[in-house]
Amino acid sequence: MARVLVYPRAEVLDPQGRAIEDALGRIGFDGVRRIRAGKSFEVALEAEDERQATEAVDRMCRQLLANPIVEDYTVEWVSE
């Protein structure tokens, strides 16, 4: 199963992350240095081989799951 993590690109403003950081501060968590807020997807798929699977997930990310203009993504393979 592929796990796709999508985060705002480092140089792009991350209002969600900021807001959560602040909220955690307000409710008394003081050790938090930084929060990044992103999306995650678990994709279970059938493919002939690993190469084909990797290629398909990568294409999904570019076409649908992530917006390359403002987001970066990473793909990991995990067992189901």
């Binding site: 209002p15 969600q16 807001a19 959560i20 909220a23 307000r26 409710i27 807020a37």
Partner: protein
Amino acid sequence: MKCGIVVFPGSNCDHDVYHVLNHVLGQETTFLWHQETSLEGCELVVLPGGFSYGDYLRAGSMAAHSPIMAAVRRHAEVGGRVLGICNGFQMLLETGLLPGAMRRNRDLRFLSVDVHLRVERDDLVYCSNYRCGDVLRMPIAHAEGNYVDTEEALDELERRGQVVFRYADASGQLEPGANLNGSERAIAGICNAGGNVLGLMPHPERCAEEMLGNRDGLGLLAGAVAAADGRVGALAAAGG
């Protein structure tokens, strides 16, 4: 009745509720800042609509931790009236004052339309101007109003009669097409077991004046400030 409207950073409907409670219904009304810890003697507390903290995590989740919410909880626990509208309803869910949770709307888009609601309870003070089966028209405007809970919890909710409003068609029928956000069991509004805490997604404060073409929502706000014995005084006083 002294009414308090809690203002959170990101509240958008605070002025609208104020306008109806104060200018239309003639009630003493004040704003309560989210960082306060006292309700200043308000008998009705309204958690208004809007996007508290931008709704950047889950709608209402960050506001649920505001200092004032402890006071709101105590108020609710001793039977005080708490009305949550839209974002306010979401906060009531997030604090656990009402059961359940919200998902994003079924089609994942913000929905700003008039819907029809069927009244399911008329023994609550909030509904003292309505009868069971009445159909009300009210605007909704939200992206996360798709109510959900576990099947057992939903059954329990129904059994205790805590469903107050459901999305229906203009004749009061429960049509799938009338339940635009996809809520389980077409739930639009619920109350707690005591009936003193009410949360709903539609906006009664936006349809409480003739001039805006609809005053179906006035009855609800008038009920919310009606005397405890359920007398329908407030609405009559407002010329309704």
